[in-house]
């Protein structure tokens, strides 16, 4: 009788995933708090990883009736090295010999955090919980699906314009070899026989004549194989695949002028980082344009956007102008959902701020699905804020928030992008 061995290694691995997600759902409050703490602690670049989360052990205890400390008990322990019957000694503090009351160790354990690691997905899920990019649905539903034709191999039927000559000729050559092959072998044999006979027999010998006729007949058969047959024809095949038209482009506008100190830039960077993660996660076809500005604006790649440093005065409108230009050139608003997010400390040249408002109101807001402005300052509102405030009531898809410290980012971010009914 041989034993039955079952190889289960390839069975589903995540038997516990339901329980795991239930655990996370149940303690979402505590976990969310840890997550937002974690965001503040983290550097910008490693936001995209999982996170080690600790939640208070007491909160998740599974209570049962059990004895507490006190009363009388006898404890048997191994390894006696010094005691004789009747010895008396102080209660050890925490662990050790008789364990004593164990107040320190037992209670200490109870208070310990329960530490575990969230996967990247779980981490982000909690992080982006209940958020959705506003108004994306609108165009998603309104737009007719477009198709793109892509090559997809070859077929045997099609229109003449699509004939693929190379494939067709290759097939024809193959067919001729396959069909003519046996004849060719026979022909070579007959020719050899004939050559042999001719050495001994005269030309008009019956057998020689017979062989010659046979050779002629075979040649004719080989000749009669068509050079090309309808069977050989191959056509380029093209199929239609749906082209997602729910593409969105996100403009990140960042003030890197001299008035934005390192701490403020850091806050802004984190805000965009969250935004970028959020977009990457929620929408597959999304492009992000990074524009940073001081007195002049420039479009940079993600790397430069978050890392490089510049300084100088501030002309906010330069960034808006550049954004408008890029929209006109590359992202026609018929095809793209456009989102804008601007971060600044609100410090701007006084006469530039009204121009910013005008630009926003006349050029950008009409083509944008959503535009968010965050002002990173702990002081009084600056002139840009005041100008922008004039827009707030009349434009539903314009939002503005103020962030004072790094811990404000998360709530503000949620507020800005919270799921709208």
């Amino acid at each position: 009788m041989t034993v039955r061995i079952v190889d289960r290694r390839f069975d589903s691995k995540n038997k516990s995933s339901v329980n795991r997600s239930r655990f996370i759902r149940r303690f979402k409050g505590q976990i969310r708090k840890s997550v937002s703490d974690a965001i503040n602690q983290r550097g910008v670049r490693d936001l995209d990883n999982g996170e080690k989360i600790g939640i208070p052990g007491r909160d998740i205890a599974e209570p049962q009736f059990a004895h507490g400390q006190g009363g009388t008990r006898e404890i048997v322990s191994p390894g006696n090295d010094r005691f004789v019957t009747g010895d008396q000694f102080e209660r050890p503090q925490g662990g050790g010999g008789g364990r004593g009351r164990g107040q320190a160790s037992r209670d200490g354990e109870g208070e310990d955090d329960f530490v575990f690691t969230l996967t990247r997905d779980e981490f982000l899920d909690i992080f982006f919980d209940e958020l959705a990019l506003p108004n994306l649905v609108k165009r998603q539903l309104a737009q007719i699906e477009q198709f793109k034709r892509v090559r997809a191999g070859y077929t045997q039927s099609g229109v003449p314009a699509n004939i693929n000559l190379g494939r067709t000729m290759r097939g024809a050559a193959g067919r001729r070899v396959a069909l003519g092959g046996p004849h060719a072998i026979r022909l070579r044999k007959l020719q050899a026989d004939l050559d042999e006979l001719r050495k001994t027999r005269p030309e008009d010998d019956v057998e020689v004549q017979h062989l010659r006729r046979e050779i002629v007949r075979l040649r004719a058969r080989i000749e009669s194989l068509p050079f090309i047959d309808p069977f050989d024809l191959r056509y380029n095949n093209r199929i239609r695949i749906p082209q997602p038209t729910t593409q969105a482009v996100m403009f990140c506008l960042l003030d890197v002028s001299g008035s934005m100190d390192e701490a403020r830039k850091n806050i802004a960077k984190r805000f965009f980082m969250l935004l970028y993660l959020f977009l990457n996660r929620n929408y597959e076809h999304i492009e992000v344009v990074f524009i940073r500005h001081h007195t002049v604006a420039s479009e940079v790649d993600e790397d430069d956007f978050f890392t490089s440093r510049e300084s100088g005065g501030t002309v906010v409108s330069s960034a808006l102008v550049l954004m408008q230009k890029i929209i006109q050139e590359r992202y026609s608003s018929a095809l793209w959902n456009i989102y804008g997010a601007q971060a600044s400390d609100g410090d701007n040249w006084n006469d530039d701020s009204p121009r910013c408002r005008e630009l926003l109101e006349n050029a950008l807001l009409p083509v944008c699905q959503y535009f968010a402005y965050i002002e990173i300052t702990d002081g009084a509102p600056q002139n840009l804020w005041e100008e922008y405030q004039k827009l707030q009531g009349s434009h539903e898809h314009f939002a503005m928030q103020r962030i004072a410290t790094v811990t404000d980012i998360y709530p503000v971010f949620r507020e800005l992008f919270k799921r709208r009914a």
Partner: protein
């Protein structure tokens, strides 16, 4: 040692990489030796799993199927975290008390470890499950998997019908009472899937009728009212199994809720023997993996390299750190159990005068017969009380310390000397008595005619109080009972005082 015929066996595969063929060969060889020793086992299945699956199995107490609950997720996360940080190796064996018995082999293990696990789990534990009276009486190895499937499906169905939240709340409450939800003395009827399914429906109807009858609100008869009322308690005898009492008598539970209570209770009952026989069971398995593999080695089937690796992990498992070591965390059940079984064999084969005095009935007897008797008829508590020898107490250098909170100092009560052996043995045995280790809490009374409140009574043992969780547990109980719940304490002098009282916050209407 050598009652076995010393026949040279063909060498088994060597190397650390395992293959299915090699495992089969080992299993056959080990099985053959086990049969020669007369081990009576269920047939077994070996399942090869990955480390991740092992963690899954861990989280659900080793069960291949189990219902879903967040607490299992918590255990999974805790295990995973410790494993990832390298704080713990995964125990390399999990074995399921079922017929056929299922033993897991972890993919990462070497061939030697696989052989060790086969000997330990598939023959050691397996024969214990089949032979020990507690397992025979209390668990139905042939039906447990079926029952767990039934439980999982039933609970999933409840989640669909009544919402995950409601089921979760109910399970939380049941889990809190799981350790006071076992029958300690009564034997539960056997489980069977068909029976369960068949009877579950009628049970629903019947139980509800019972409960309704109990709580019938007929207008009281005047003459009865006039008679001097004698205080009659319900239940008439205190009930130790809280979950059972809830299942049968809680007035407001719906039929599906009763069924869920029953499921948790049944599963708890299934694990009860395991909690009572840890030392014996692990010791038995260690003894047999050691004996089986050594026998194979003596016959030339195993290489020296194999034995070195095997002995290395064997000694790790049965190591008992002394009380003052940083690694000390109580008595290692593997160490104690293994040492006791080895010691029993020694007493049978090479008894000293001391052994003859202490164990006149087994000294010099046939060790296999003695083993089977001991394995079949004891649990940890009684096993230690019966078989712990003075020699072993000396070897372990056991000593007993009295911790009385009325005294300022701890006192050494007994050590491993002539005057201490009996006391030491009795106290160690008591340490393994679940009855005294866990608080004795029973259903005392239900105020049938009044506010329907439920009174529990904690029978205090050696003045030990309950821990701080009793409040939360009581809340869970209130949730199940649906009316006020009281917890009383009965001290050893017979006086009774009220510990806590919980009122229901709301009547449940779901």
């Amino acid at each position: 040692m050598t009652q076995m015929p010393v026949a040279l066996a063909k060498p088994l595969p060597v190397g650390s990489e395992w293959t299915f063929e090699a495992i089969t060969e080992y299993d056959e060889a080990i099985g053959e030796v086990a049969r020669e020793y007369g081990l009576d086992c269920y047939p077994h299945i070996l399942e090869v799993i990955s480390a991740e699956q092992m963690m899954d199995a861990y989280a659900s107490i080793g069960m291949p199927v189990y219902y879903n609950h967040w607490s299992f997720g918590k255990h999974f996360l805790a295990t995973e975290n410790r494993y990832r940080r390298g704080q713990m190796g995964l125990a390399y064996e999990i074995v399921i008390n079922s017929d056929p018995c299922i033993a897991y082999l972890m993919e990462e293990n070497t061939l030697t470890m696989q052989a060790l696990v086969i000997a330990h789990a598939a023959y050691g534990h397996n024969s214990f499950f089949k032979g020990n009276h507690l397992f025979k009486q209390w668990t139905s190895a042939d039906a447990i998997i079926d029952y767990l499937v039934f439980a999982r499906n039933y609970i999933a169905e409840c989640e669909e019908r009544h919402g995950v939240e409601a089921v979760e709340r109910l399970l939380d409450a049941c889990h809190a009472l799981m350790n006071v939800g076992v029958d300690r003395y009564k034997r539960s009827p056997r489980l069977s899937l068909e029976k369960e399914k068949l009877r579950q429906k009628e049970r629903e109807a019947y139980l509800q009728a019972q409960v309704n009858d109990l709580w019938r609100t007929l207008p009281p008869r005047p003459e009865a009212e006039a008679m001097p009322r004698e205080e009659k308690r319900f239940p008439e005898e205190p009930e130790e199994n809280l979950l059972y009492f809830i299942e049968k008598n809680a007035p407001l539970l719906e039929p599906w809720q009763r069924e869920v209570v029953r499921i948790v209770r049944k599963v708890g009952q299934y694990f009860y023997p395991q909690r009572q026989t840890q030392v014996m069971n692990e010791g038995w398995a260690c003894f047999w993996h050691y004996t089986l593999l050594n026998t194979l080695y003596d016959r030339g089937a195993l290489s020296d390299g194999f034995m070195l690796e095997f002995l290395q992990s064997h000694t790790n498992v049965v190591y008992q750190p002394p009380y003052n070591s940083p690694y000390y965390s109580g008595i290692n059940p593997y160490a104690l159990g293994y040492a006791m079984w080895q010691d029993i064999r020694r007493i049978c084969e090479n008894p000293t005068d001391e052994d003859r005095e202490w164990f006149p009935d087994i000294a010099g007897s046939d060790w296999r017969a003695t083993f089977d008797f001991a394995m079949q008829n004891f649990k940890d508590e009684s096993f230690i009380a019966q078989y712990l020898s003075p020699r072993l107490m000396r070897e372990f250098r056991l000593f007993s310390v009295l911790d009385d909170d009325r005294r300022g100092k701890l006192r050494v009560e007994a050590i491993h000397d002539d005057s201490g052996y009996r006391l030491l043995r009795q106290q160690l045995s008591e340490q393994y008595d679940l009855g005294s280790r866990e608080p004795n809490i029973q259903v005392w009374n239900v105020d049938l005619s009044g506010d329907r409140s439920l009174t529990l009574r904690h029978f205090v043992h050696q003045r030990r109080p309950l821990n701080e969780y009793n409040d939360v547990v009581l809340e869970h109980l209130t949730e199940l009972w649906g009316f006020k719940v009281r917890l009383e304490r009965q001290n050893s002098d017979g006086t009774v005082d009220l510990l806590t009282e919980k009122k229901t916050e709301r009547r449940r209407h779901n």
